[in-house]
Amino acid sequence: MFSELSAQKEGSSLLCRPSEDQGPVFDRMSLAYSPCSERYTVGERSFSRQYAHIYAARLMQMRPLLSERAKQKWGSDVLIRKLCDLQTGEQCCIVGTLFKRMDLQPSILKEISEEHNLLPQPARVKFISETDELILEDELQRIKLEGNIYRDKCVTGSVIAIYGAEKNDGKFTVEDFCMADLPPQSPRPTLSSDRFVLLVSGLGLGSTHADSMLGLQLLVDMVTGQLGDQGEQSGAATISRVLLVGNLLSQNTQDADAATKPKYLTKKTQAGSVEAIRLLDEMLLQLVASVPVDVMPGQYDPTNFTLPQQALHRCMFPLSSVYPTLQLVTNPHQSHIDGVRFLGTSGQNVCDIQRYSSMDDHLEILEDTLRLRHLAPTAPDTLGCYPFYQKDPFILEECPHVYFSGMAPTFQSKLVKGPDGQECLLVTIPDFNSTQTACLVNLRTLTCEPISFSAFSADEDEDSEMNVSH
């Protein structure tokens, strides 16, 4: 563990007399790094296509995988039917895309048509209700589902295989269903020593209350080795990479007034994000001078809104972008760090599933998306998404070793094992602005621990294992 590593040296303490000679130099480990996010970069930007293509491509890609899973689960002689060949009362298996019809789902058409007698709706956290219906679609048809399938847990857009029979009333009674489960994984190299990757989400710069700034500065100082005694400094040298997972800017930097106010009133005002980006640039400058940093954009960052979010532009960081250690990357981001495959998002996909299903736990949702083999099943239905047509880049083709998502309320982590011996560490990275907590992933043992920088938090004795400020 990182905390043990930092505290191992006893002889050197800050309480001793400063030595005459230059202190020891701890070299930071530099690890082999190869980004593999090409699939998430959008070259041409044509928005003239419909989203039917992405669903078609998704089903095309997932159908062979699911047919195989269905054969593994229900025997190789299981009858796999298309909906158009379905016979009433016949036991069979169907592969298709789920669609959940939800009364509470916000719909622009509904809002327009009911404009004249519109009742003000309370702001909702969840859009599920008792009247929701599950429907399975394949290329040509759709059928209503009932039976052994948990309606509230499913979300629109997930491709699954169901087993059962159609009843006389035209509904399909599900006996069992299966998901694509974990994709194949390449083996993880065995590493000789502990090395860490620091994951931070939601720096929230430019927010109205600046109480996270102290924590942030402590984080930067800790990583750059300007904090603590020699033990802690040698510990910091094992942090070989920092990943900033989205929401670098606070929601407050997006003022809605600018769009509605007349131009002559806002002419002289500066967008809130300008100051925040400058702050971010200065903070990045301190970091990149010492450690490689990957910067992923998030929901409130100045890049495109739809997934996959493209990397922030270099010109926004005049100070730090001259360093080769600064990597500006896309929002679902995938990379190999010392042979360990990282994949993750800034958390929009997880938050969206949370709104449209009964699941509340970010870790549970994260595991679900891994089992569905799809990063963002609710895109493009309720989550903005680029209209892809050739293939759906959010389908996981290779199982990552570390699968993370940002913007979580709390830190959680879990090791998930797949049917073919896959091992995947799931990490939900808490919002740094509110929790002052980051996560350290140990590449050797594939474990994760939180590291908290809260200076004046009320719940000090919570699971923060290393409280640097004390």
Partner: protein, 109 residues
């Protein structure tokens, strides 16, 4: 000698512009067959276009609106759906929008 009032059209000839819409509307129609050979070519073209329309309407290869026929063919190939090879040959030899774009090309979205 009386000088005629000079008109602007004396120095600049009247040029009649063809209407834009009129040309477009005419294009889908095949030219009237004058020779026997041309008639043969026209029926061949008809035949080819019919095969392509059949390809558009084949549901196995996914939706056809908004993308070119070749893109759709490539997608089907990518996902192992074995689209007919002759379609690709047709699409690669002709660059005319009548060939390269799908049946619903005149309908935006």
């Amino acid at each position: 000698m009386t000088t005629k009032p000079r008109l602007i059209t004396d120095s600049f000839k009247v040029v009649k512009k063809a209407k834009r819409g009129a040309r477009k509307a005419k294009r889908p129609l095949s030219p009237p067959p004058t020779h026997q050979a041309e008639a043969g070519a026209a029926t061949l073209q008809e035949e080819e276009l019919r095969t392509l329309r059949h390809f558009d309407l084949d549901w196995r290869f996914g939706p056809c609106t908004g993308i070119s026929r070749l893109h759709r063919w490539e997608r089907a190939e990518l996902h192992g759906l074995d689209p007919p090879e002759e379609i690709r040959e047709l699409l690669q030899t002709h660059t005319d929008p009548e060939y390269s774009l799908s049946l619903w090309r005149d309908y935006p979205l």
